[in-house]
């Protein structure tokens, strides 16, 4: 991909360097942008939201399943509350759909009662135990063999990509910088204190480093000589269904959890699709996103116990996300070894929910470690609203197209996404530079044809807007080229990569 020279992109000094542009790193950058600080997020992928933040269940969990007193419990409940306002301010699609934990027998009903009590201990109100009839009236497609459920009305769903992009965009609007395609390769430590971060693009001097590197947070800690935790990657696979079967369930439906996992859920997405998953398998490789036949079989049979008639013919895609497991709880706080290093590590579920609360906590720790927190008077908590053609009335559409005709050309027919929206997503702060970047920001290619129709068109738009050749447009990562010049051209230009 064409870039300005490395030195233009990477500052030589920053007050705080955040390593990792997932939802956690971006939420932290946004929280830091409330203060007069130079903040730089370093992300090694070509876009933010390329790690765990792009492949998860998208649920704002109610917060009854974590052990009382843990980070998970506290930050889940607080994070879910923060999203109520943040999603409005930042334009993160969020829907309060409620969640159900369903029971198959009397033993499981007893577990539900334990969960309810734990929820109360975690500060939740409104949890209710439902009988079979109430459950089936709410969710007619569930198995009639189920005997009851725990209802959590406050559970919500969000778009996990938009959440990450929105935090990133707001951070940038408030002065933070996000440098993509910049891998952290080392951390300089002098007298047990962080002094600089070494990257693939050069060195940044800094006294404060936040480790939000997801599954790689263990490696990042080691770069600063901190071996206080390690990360075990645990993969979860999903099958996603088209919105034509979006009414399969109204709420997020969990089976009763076991000691090992929350089980296979059946849940709506905020955009009207439905998914089943995830399973949980420990893997060797931190980046092993492969889906497996065995995994599909596991999630399909798990989901069938809850919803016997799965619309398998309407599956549109399968994917896998990787949980960064550091033990039972998140690793949050000052490094026990190296001064100036703060961890937001091992952020497995409910990390998406907890992200804004994690951000607050990390900023408190930075303050404790000596970072001066002077309020940024120019801070704006709000992102401007970008038009969404599909949600508009006919009159609004007419006015929009009159102002910018590109909003009158539908590029993605499955999701009715216009060229205007795609161009805006590319031009925005922290804008899209890849096919998947466009897809995750505006959903072009997210529908039932999975880009079969709009793919070539979106490629051409990206090339035009970024001023690069079609052959330079990538799917997601730097090596994920899509098209080569045709052979005649190749023989004329043998050196083209």
């Amino acid at each position: 991909m064409l870039e300005a020279s490395a030195s233009d992109r990477l500052p030589t000094q920053a007050d705080v360097v955040v390593i990792g542009g997932g939802v956690v790193g971006c939420a932290i950058a946004r929280e830091l942008s409330r203060y007069r600080l130079s903040v730089v997020v370093l992300e090694r992928a070509p876009d933010v939201a390329m790690g765990t933040s792009k492949a998860n269940s998208g649920i704002l969990h109610a917060g009854f399943d974590a052990e009382p007193g843990t980070w998970k419990a506290r930050l889940n409940v607080r994070g879910a509350r923060l999203y109520r306002e943040i999603s409005e301010d930042l334009g993160i699609p969020r829907r309060r759909v409620g969640s159900l934990v369903v029971a198959q027998d009397a033993d499981q009903l007893a577990t539900l009662e334990e969960l309810r009590l734990r929820g109360i201990e975690n500060g939740l109100t409104g949890l209710a135990l439902w009988g079979r009839d109430e459950l089936l009236a709410h969710e007619p497609n569930l198995s009639p063999e189920l005997v009851g459920a725990l209802w959590a009305p406050m559970a919500a769903i969000v778009c996990p990509f938009t959440a990450t992009f929105a935090f990133a965009e707001n951070a940038i609007r408030n002065g933070a910088r996000i440098v993509t395609e910049c891998a952290v390769t080392g951390i300089e430590v002098v007298d047990n204190r962080v002094t600089a971060v070494k990257t693939s693009l050069g060195r940044i001097a800094t006294s404060y480093v936040v480790n939000a590197a997801g599954v790689h947070s263990g490696e990042v800690a080691l770069m600063a000589g901190d071996d206080s935790f390690t990360i075990t990657p645990r993969r979860g696979e999903y099958v996603l269904f088209d919105h034509s079967v979006g009414d399969l369930v109204r709420s997020v439906v969990f089976p009763t959890p076991t000691k090992l996992s929350k089980g296979i859920l059946v849940a709506p997405t905020v955009h009207g699709n439905v998914f089943i998953g995830p399973n949980a398998s420990d893997i060797e490789d931190l980046e092993d996103h492969e889906t497996t036949r065995h995994g599909f079989a596991e999630i399909i049979s798990g989901a069938r116990r809850v919803v016997p008639n799965l619309p398998l013919g309407n599956a549109i895609t399968e994917f896998a996300g990787i949980r960064a497991v550091a033990g039972k709880d998140f690793v949050i706080g000052l490094s026990p070894v190296t001064g100036g290093l703060v961890h937001a590590a091992g952020i497995q579920s409910p990390g998406l929910t907890a992200a804004p609360a994690i951000a607050e906590t990390i900023v408190e720790y930075l303050g404790e470690a000596g970072l001066k927190l002077v309020p940024n008077p120019a801070f704006t908590p709000i992102n401007p609203v970008r038009p969404k053609f599909v949600d508009m009335s006919i009159g609004e559409r007419a006015r929009l197209i009159a102002a910018d005709p590109l909003y009158g050309r539908i590029i993605c027919r499955c999701e009715s996404i216009t060229e205007g929206e795609i161009v805006a997503a590319i031009q925005a702060p922290c804008g899209a530079r890849t096919m998947d970047g466009v897809k995750r920001r505006v959903r072009a290619g997210m529908g039932r044809c999975q880009g079969g129709f709009c793919g070539p068109r979106v490629t051409a738009i990206i090339a035009r807007e970024l001023g690069v050749a079609v052959t330079e447009v990538c799917k997601d990562s730097a090596g994920s080229w899509l098209y080569l010049p045709r052979s005649e051209t190749v023989s004329a230009e043998p050196n083209h990569a």
Binding site: F296, I316, R448, G452, G455, G479, R486
Partner: protein, 435 residues
Amino acid sequence: MHEFHYDVVTIGGGPAGMAAALSAKDAGAKQVLIIERDRELGGILQQCIHNGFGLRRFDKELTGPGYAHRYIEMVKQAGIDVWLDSTVLSADPGGIITSVSPDKGMRVVTCAATVYSMGCRERTRGAIRIPGSRPAGVLTAGAAQRMVNMEGYSPGRNVVIVGSGDIGLIMARRMSLEGAHVKAVFEIMPYSNGLNRNIVQCLEDFDIPLHLSHSVVAVHGEDHVTGITVAKVDAKLNPIAGTEFDMDCDCLLLSVGLIPENELGRAHALEIDPVTGGAVVDQFRRTNMSGFFAAGNVLHVHDLVDWVSQEAEIAGRSAALHALGKLPKVNVFRSVAAGDGIRYVVPQKLSPPGGRPTVRFFMRATQPMGASVVQLHADGQIVWESNHPVVKPSEMIVADIPWKKIGAAREISFTVAPAPEEPESRDAPQAEEAL
């Protein structure tokens, strides 16, 4: 906002939409409109630069654009209005069609009759759940075809094709001509889903191996695809352990089926045939939604464009008659069943005959067979049959049935079975237009 009124509107300006609009005009509709989202008419034909179109319709082997061009000229001559670069967002009961385009903005059209002619889309990797990583370089054959033929880019140099549908076979040849190495075509079924002529001209002539009863069990590569793992499958289509092997490639093209694009109808109560994925229609190509007709790949996936044009002529004419108030209203239909050996029949139901002596049925067999006999059963009696040297799911069976054979029968079904020893032909299919 502007409002427009037309007698007949076709949604989609591919071969079906153009033929329907032309025959609607012929049948007396005064104001006819084609709405097309692309910048030119012709639909998928415009990217099909190979030969093989029009043998039946024009008695000539044309390229896709060549076939489209003939229709585009006819549409111009006929005084049919055409809106290009215009996407239909909704088509509501009562004939209210909302479209959008960059230069004209939102336009609402009311019309007396609508013909659905939106074509189909390709089945994707997700729909058939191929496991593995999700790198770049895995795409549907049709998307690749557009990129190569219309935009002038190539999706790779070492190509493997999954599925032996016609687009896959055509792309095997296209990529070979582009200088790519097409290493193999893998088909999960024990037979090919493409036309025989395509297997010969696109694979055999280029020495590209076709592996039947094989399935891709994993895709490899983190950024860009680097290879796949393939295995043999058993009779239930499950991979057989121990038969796996790897093959390197930098491009995986999928040709694993086409799905009628009926989202506009699904938004309402359009009755869909679960087998074809298209609307349930009578011999007039009339759907259960009053004033809505359907033709072409949006109704059922055809293997030859010639059949699409013919079917669309029926739908266009019916739409015109409906607009003119001349198409008899019916509430009771007789259904036509797909019996043994037949996967589907279109039309799926019959209303009272409309003046013509015969009615044409399109059918597909469930599996390949040698010499076979297709039979029509009416109230338990075999009233018509025709012999075929071979029958394949990929090649449409076309039957023109005289109404007098159907008579007043209530139970109507088609079957196909291996032919008895000495076949004796009674009614061979006729080429004349039937309704």
